[in-house]
């Protein structure tokens, strides 16, 4: 392809250049920090230097006296407004500004509003807080010890750090399978605490109009409607007087789902000063205080026959949730969708128990493309299968092939109650192995081993569960997880589609126009996609968990089909035939047997707004809406193979090759799907090799900047090699499944499996992420690899 060739716009699905790029490549995106309002002030947050300490006093007098400071807000100020604490997405509460104690390093203690961002930061230095340090809880595995300090003494009657116990599967049946099994392989593993670290941090511009009483908040949110409702509940403001605008968002990755104290402080700042207040956190604040991801201490057991038939899985998890349980997931799923840990395999029984605990760390847990804990679930099972292969001395790819669910088993009800919609797993795995040249690689590896060189091949096969979800069992804070779409065709045949989901770079402005184009035959170039403004768009729960295509994509297709049916009635009046005599061809209704007698969607749109006499009961205009309550999740899947070269002298791991075969059903825009996969694969390499948010024994955050929290650059990522199979979702209106998080979910295990495979000559059976050069080097010296930094 040469530089001058512009890709033509398809009339529906297919490769299409993105509409939103037109502004981004010119620097005309509109992100929160780009917003400037008349009289706007700037806020900054004072944060705790301690992980756990009692607050004895907060003296703000010097800060108040700063000539450019307009307001200093403390926990006491907020307590007066009943806003010192706010509800979390897990039915816990979180301190907005600390009043009694601080419970993690970086926690919000005071908020300064000043005339410019420099002065606001200056004034933070003038606030004097007297702390009495308390012993912190850092290691989640010790959080329930009898002598562990109680973190949440704010909660009535709370005498320990226990949050919840949750279990799934059949314990008796699983124990029975394990009792009878010929082989049992067990492995402790940590999925370390990491952070989504979107390039743009979190921020808001809050603007309360005192005359109209209307509050407008421009903010980095993946779920603007949910934010509006929560603000209404928390602040007692009438919901129609709250407008949330999520403008262009510089990446979300789950980091921008929840409500952060900074947003609330900006709103209070605007209420107090009567001016718009901007709050934009810096990177270290983002890493230290906003939603982390993972932090699952897992003990997995896998039972099998001696010849490699997997029989069962048994799992125990300690989940570190930090100081406030702010985990974002449906109410009835405190461990998210970890229940899909049985993965892609046909087994007889499974059981798992998850215990959530408080520690002196920032809240979070569900973020970073995890699809509600499926990252952890997939990592666990894909590591366990490799451990089993190691113990049995068999090839890990063959072991998987032997145990994968077969196409004829779908829809398949898993042993933990999930109904997988569709899949052809062996086909995807075969394709990946073929594409990577698996047999040849094993030959090359053997030769290299003979020469003392370290090379590893890692396989991962995953099943995702995305598109939350059916409202009968999925809600967030009581809000059912259905999403709306409203489609309006203008008189001249151009259209506007309004959505409740909120892109953060995933290309919704393009792909959702393509769905309408496919259904109605209106060019995607002629369809404007509106999202992110709660005054302009239908209610819904936003974009995370790869739910946009499964839920809002379905809503869009259904709304477009309703428009098509309305158009049919209008066309029948235009053509003076019965609607039953009409047939649809993309873009027009025509009379059966007389294709020349037809009306295009554009002609119909004009007629629908004109003086044409319409049949009884048919309203004019051409629009429709849909609230889509999904009947089930979608279950995309994939087969990944990673090839690494390891330098035994330095411990350096080089990802040489990565083949990713993904199946997300029907692909609306293959270019965008591939871009989603590329990004997720980089996440996997980053988590497996570099990223960790570690803490020392005092609870100091050791990964609080990009100097320590390492993200993969162009140098750590190989040229990704993708493949695809297409197994549509039978229940979805267009057969599409989510894809956004698949690669982040599926790839870490492939990388770790590859590195462990490379280290086989040293007898390494498991290694915890991140596999930094130091960790790998230690393993090559014969020391076990443990992520001791992350668990002190």
């Amino acid at each position: 392809m040469t530089a001058t060739e512009e890709r033509p716009t398809p009339m529906g699905y297919g490769p299409m250049n993105r509409k939103e790029d037109a502004r981004f490549v010119r620097g005309h995106g509109n992100y929160v920090d780009d917003i400037v309002l008349p009289g706007m002030l700037h806020g900054a947050v004072l944060r705790s230097p301690y992980a756990h300490a009692r607050i004895l006093s907060v003296d703000t007098s010097a800060a108040q006296a700063h000539p450019k400071v307009r307001a200093v807000i403390t926990g006491e100020t907020l307590a007066g407004l009943n806003l010192a604490w706010m509800p979390t997405l897990s039915h816990d509460v979180q301190a907005v500004l600390a009043t009694d104690k601080v419970r993690f390093q970086g926690q919000e203690v005071a908020f300064v509003v000043a005339e410019d961002r420099y002065s606001a930061r200056d004034a933070l230095e003038l606030i004097d807080v007297d702390y009495e340090p308390l012993p912190p809880v850092v290691d989640a595995r010790k959080a329930l010890d009898a002598d562990a300090p109680v973190i949440r003494d704010d909660l009535e009657g709370r005498t320990d750090n226990h949050i919840f116990d949750w279990e799934t599967g059949d314990k008796a049946a699983t124990d029975d399978v394990f009792d009878r099994a010929e082989v049992v392989a067990a492995q402790d593993m940590l999925y370390p605490r990491v952070h989504p670290a979107p390039m743009e941090t979190c921020g808001a511009v809050a603007d309360l109009d005192k005359i109209t009483g209307k509050l407008t908040v421009y903010t980095t949110t993946q779920a603007p409607h949910a934010h509006r409702t929560v603000y209404a509940m928390v602040a007692g403001l009438p919901e129609h007087k709250i407008r949330i605008v999520s403008p262009d968002i510089g990446g979300g990755f789950g980091n921008k789902v929840g409500i952060y104290p900074g947003y609330v402080c900006a709103i209070v700042g605007s209420i107090v000063t009567g001016k718009p207040v901007k709050w934009m956190e810096d990177r270290s604040e983002n890493l230290m205080s906003t939603s982390f991801a993972r932090d699952y201490h897992m003990r997995g057991e896998i039972a099998a026959t001696r010849d490699g038939k997997i029989l069962g899985l048994r799992v125990k998890v300690i989940a570190d949730h930090g100081a406030f349980n702010g985990t974002a997931q449906p109410t009835k799923f405190p461990a998210g969708f970890f229940g899909v840990f049985t993965g892609s395999y046909d087994l007889q029984a499974a059981h798992c128990e998850v215990t959530g605990v408080y520690t002196n760390k920032a809240p979070g847990g569900v973020a970073y493309a995890c699809s509600f804990r499926i990252t952890e679930a997939v990592y666990l099972v894909e590591r366990l299968v490799d451990v089993l292969a190691y113990d049995l001395g068999v090839d890990p790819a063959q072991l998987r092939m032997r145990n994968l669910l077969r196409p004829e088993q779908f829809p398949y009800e898993s042993k933990t109650g999930w109904e997988y919609d569709s899949g052809d797993y062996p086909k995807a795995l075969r394709l990946a192995l073929e594409q990577v040249g698996y047999e040849e690689l094993r030959v090359e590896q053997a030769a290299k081993r003979d020469r003392g060189e370290l090379m590893g091949i890692g396989v991962s096969f995953f099943t995702e569960a995305v598109g939350a979800g059916p409202r009968k069992h999925m809600d967030i804070l009581g809000l059912g997880m259905a999403d709306g779409a409203e489609l309006r065709v203008h008189p001249t045949g151009k259209a506007v589609l309004r959505l409740s989901c909120q892109t953060q770079g995933q290309g919704h402005e393009t792909t959702f126009a393509q769905i309408v184009a496919e259904e109605l035959g209106i060019s995607p170039d002629d369809i404007d996609v509106v999202h992110g403004d709660t005054d302009q768009t239908p209610f819904g729960l936003g974009t995370y968990g790869s739910r946009s295509t499964p839920v809002s994509g379905a809503a869009t297709a259904v709304a477009a089909r309703r428009v098509r049916e309305r158009a049919k009635l209008v066309a029948s009046a235009m053509l003076e035939v019965s609607p039953d005599d009409l047939e649809w061809e993309k873009g027009r209704w025509f009379v059966k047997g007389d294709p020349a007698a037809s009306k295009t969607i554009s002609e119909i749109a004009l007629a629908a707004h004109a003086d044409l006499e319409l049949p009884e009961g048919v309203e004019g205009h051409l629009d429709a809406a849909c609230v889509y309550n999904p009947p089930n999740l979608t279950y995309p899947f994939g087969a990944y193979v990673c090839v690494v070269d390891v330098d035994a002298e330095t411990g350096q791991v080089k990802v040489r090759k990565f083949v990713a075969v993904d199946d997300c059903g029907v692909r609306i825009n293959p270019i965008i799907v591939e871009g989603q996969v590329h990004g997720g694969l980089a996440d996997g390499v980053g988590m497996a090799l570099m990223q960790v948010m570690a803490f020392d024994e005092d609870g100091n955050h050791l990964g609080g900047s990009f100097m320590d929290y390492l993200l993969p650059t162009s140098m750590e990522c190989p040229s990704w090699e993708l493949g695809e199979t297409v197994t549509p979702s039978p229940h979805h209106p267009i057969g599409a499944k989510g894809i956004g998080e698949s690669a982040t979910v599926g790839s870490p295990a492939a990388v770790v499996n590859a590195v462990v495979d490379a280290l086989r000559p040293y007898g390494v059976r498991h290694a915890d992420m991140p596999l930094t050069p130091a960790a790998v080097w230690r393993a090559a010296q014969g020391d076990p690899i443990r992520t001791d930094l992350a668990i002190t």
């Binding site: 005309h28 420099y118 979107p198 390039m199 990177r283 871009g675 980089a682 990009f706 650059t713």
Partner: protein, 156 residues
């Protein structure tokens, strides 16, 4: 202090504090918001601009240091009639951006890279862009975009 910087061919003069960072001057005093801030440790490169033709991270230059110099931001890369720079076209064509937040810095760093090495290999592009983090694309398509803008055949 008073600083005068020629930004995208336009002279911008303003009174600023000594400590004002160039990135804030560009965004707030000149009102050019393409240039973004992604970190506080000079790691991410979202703020990359050209200073007298060389790429710099504008979060790590004082506005005062740029006094009397020429700065080019992404807004200045398009021609006077809105004609896009080959990199702007190729980033779109190759889907080298998603959320778009790293894009301004990435394109400016790429412009500098191509000025120094007009026909880079894929590996050379990767080395040249090591100072620019992207969280969305996994870099693959960015590399392709730079290759395309250099007039070379893109071998994906």
């Amino acid at each position: 202090m008073r600083v005068t910087i020629e930004i995208n061919g336009r002279t911008v003069t303003d009174e600023v504090e000594d400590r004002t960072l160039l990135v804030h001057f560009v965004r707030e005093n000149a009102g050019l918001t393409a240039t973004n801030i992604g970190c506080d440790t000079t790691s991410c490169g979202a703020c990359t601009v050209l200073l007298d033709g060389e790429s710099v991270k504008s979060c790590t230059v004082l506005a005062a240091q740029a006094d009397g110099h020429k700065v080019t931001t992404l807004e200045g890369l398009s021609g006077p009639d809105g004609e896009q720079h080959p990199l702007q076209r190729s980033f779109r064509q190759q889907h080298g951006l998603q959320c778009g937040f790293c894009t301004p810095g990435m394109i400016m760093a790429s412009a500098s890279l191509l000025a120094h090495n007009p026909k880079p290999t894929r590996d050379e592009v990767r080395e040249g862009l090591e100072g620019n983090l992207c969280r969305c694309t996994g870099y693959h398509n960015i590399v392709s975009a730079v290759i395309e803008a250099s007039g070379q055949e893109v071998d994906r």
